[in-house]
Amino acid sequence: MATLHTRSHARLMMAPSVLLLLGWMIVPLAMTIYFSFLRYNLLMPGMEEYAGLMNYRFFLTDPAFFTALANTLILTGGVLLITVIGGILMALLLDQPMFGQGIVRILVIAPFFVMPTVSALVWKNMFMNPVNGLFAALAKSVGLAPLDWLAEVPLLSIILIVAWQWLPFATLILLTALQSLDEEQKEAAEMDGAGFFSRFIYIVLPHMARAITVVILIQTIFLLSVFAEILVTTNGGPGIQTTNITYLVYAQALLQFDIGGASAGGIVAVVLANIVAFFLMRMIGKNLEA
């Protein structure tokens, strides 16, 4: 795209897809904003009327809102912590030459291909169930009382389930970063007298910084909107202990049939996601600059 001529042609040819994508985004956003200013309840069809900021006032002053906000952030932060640290450790392990490396790598990646509802149900019924679950059996085998995970530590349970799903993703990205590290650099550090931990901290970790940033950014986008795992395990409960913003919007719309309130919640969630993205980019965005 060197000349003015080719550039204007390029713009012309890109225009259809840009317009399509823009429309795809703008129409739902505009409708959501429009609904958020209406008194719009599915139990009272045909009675929609302009309600001003009432929906926003109700959503933001809902006692459940701040709990949901905190849950969202704890869930996102917890999963990020587990997947990044765990992913680095797994990547270091998988980078070692070993027998059956190919098979092991495929097995490690497998959880990512299991759909969230299925994996959450497997965890709920086969691992965390206080009667039949594997964890209960393990606890009983050493003489401990089985823990009812989803009732007693519900948020932690959700974090574990979601972290299990995202660990392969982090491992995969970090493993490729690890493999792209120049072998001679490691050898140079070895010659320079750096032991295993010094090599890891001064050479390997800085090399992986960009990959870690990518993992954090991509995962944050998805973790802010975790939904299926909560729906099939705890339904946001007990009480509202595992309700995040996404689940709160769902409850507003489809359990209380309040489309106006849910739309307002959706817009609040969009704003919150942007705030999180802003701080994330300020904190770690510089790693992405070449």
Binding site: D182, E184, D192, H207
Partner: protein, 332 residues
């Protein structure tokens, strides 16, 4: 400080014996060059000395102490890699300081040594830059700086100039030679370029398929190559190796004559041939000549010689400069 001796050192990768068995003495303060074609095991040998590869057998002693099973950092050697292996996220200063930091020196001491090394290598103005902001030659100097701050008992260079362009290579060659004069530390230098070997070395080790073909000073190797391989490898353009009737007349299986030891004439001489290609360099003229009954002969004359493709020239090999080799390829 700085003597290295290898006894029966061997290295086997799976089935392939890269280095069958090798003895070598490197004296303190020497500039030793390992030279050979690619795949001859010269880099492997260097890595064995560095400790980056484990020996399959034999013993490596550094300064009289058995270092065969010591880890690389404990051997007191510093290495400059082909790709420089600079740490891309660290400034030049941190790169040079890294080995000192790992050795646990205090900050003032590190600063002093880094400044000193930077001065020796003309890097003072670049200390706060990142490696990617430097040119090839500067990166090379940073890699050398990282090696010299440790004051090692020997430096190991693994083809350090192969990533530089031709002009820069000549400069860096000179700088490394000067550095050797200045530091008087043992240096082991691996290259496939026999010109680098000839110009820099005190002692050249010619390697082929993991075996030492010959060890000696550059001129020893030039004057009396021990076998056909060394004869063909050392010297540019390559020595003419002639077999057949002519060799038998001289009582050998193969006879070698360097291009510069052939007297050229346009009027008379021992062989009459036709020029296929003439390369005029100004200072020298290289001629590729087809001589009936002898074969293809390269000849070199100092200065200019006005001949071209298709001209007839006469060649006379200087008899006292002939190298004779027997049927095993060894010098007679």
């Amino acid at each position: 400080m700085g003597s290295i001796s290898l006894k029966n050192v061997s290295k086997v990768f799976g089935e392939a014996a890269v280095i069958p068995s090798l003895d070598l003495e490197i004296n303190k303060g020497e500039f030793v060059v390992f030279v050979g074609p690619s795949g001859c095991g010269k880099s492997t040998l260097l890595r064995l000395i560095a400790g980056l590869e484990d020996v399959s057998g034999g013993q490596i002693a550094i300064d009289g102490v058995d270092a065969t099973s010591l880890p690389p950092a404990k051997r007191g050697l510093a290495m400059v890699f082909q790709s420089y292996a600079l740490y891309p996220h660290m400034s030049v200063r941190s790169n040079i300081a890294f080995p000192l930091k790992m050795a646990g020196l205090d900050k003032a001491e590190i600063d002093r040594k880094v400044t000193e090394a930077a001065k020796v290598l003309n890097l003072t103005d670049y200390l706060d830059r990142k490696p990617r902001q430097l040119s090839g030659g500067q990166r090379q100097r940073v890699a050398i700086g990282r090696a010299i701050v440790r004051q090692p008992s020997a430096f190991l260079f693994d083809e350090p100039l192969s990533n530089l362009d031709a002009a820069l290579r000549v400069n860096m060659r000179l700088e490394i030679s000067e550095l050797h004069q200045q530091l008087k530390t043992t240096m082991i230098y691996v290259t496939h370029d026999q010109v680098e070997a000839m110009t820099m070395a005190d002692k050249i080790v010619v390697l082929n398929k993991g075996r030492v073909e010959q060890v000696g000073s550059p001129l020893e190797l030039y004057r009396s190559p021990a076998n056909l391989f060394v004869a063909g490898f050392i010297g540019s353009p390559k020595m003419n190796l002639l077999t057949g009737e002519y060799a038998r007349a001289h009582g050998a299986t193969t006879v070698g004559i360097r291009p510069e030891h052939i007297t050229l004439s346009t009027t008379e001489g021992e062989w009459k041939g036709v020029v296929t290609v003439a390369e005029h360099l100004g200072s020298d003229t290289f001629l590729h000549v087809d001589v009936p009954g002898i074969g293809h002969v390269n000849a070199r004359v100092s200065g200019e010689l006005p001949v071209g493709h298709g001209d007839t020239v006469y060649l006379s090999p200087q008899r006292e400069r002939l190298h004779r080799f027997n049927d095993q390829g060894l010098a007679q």
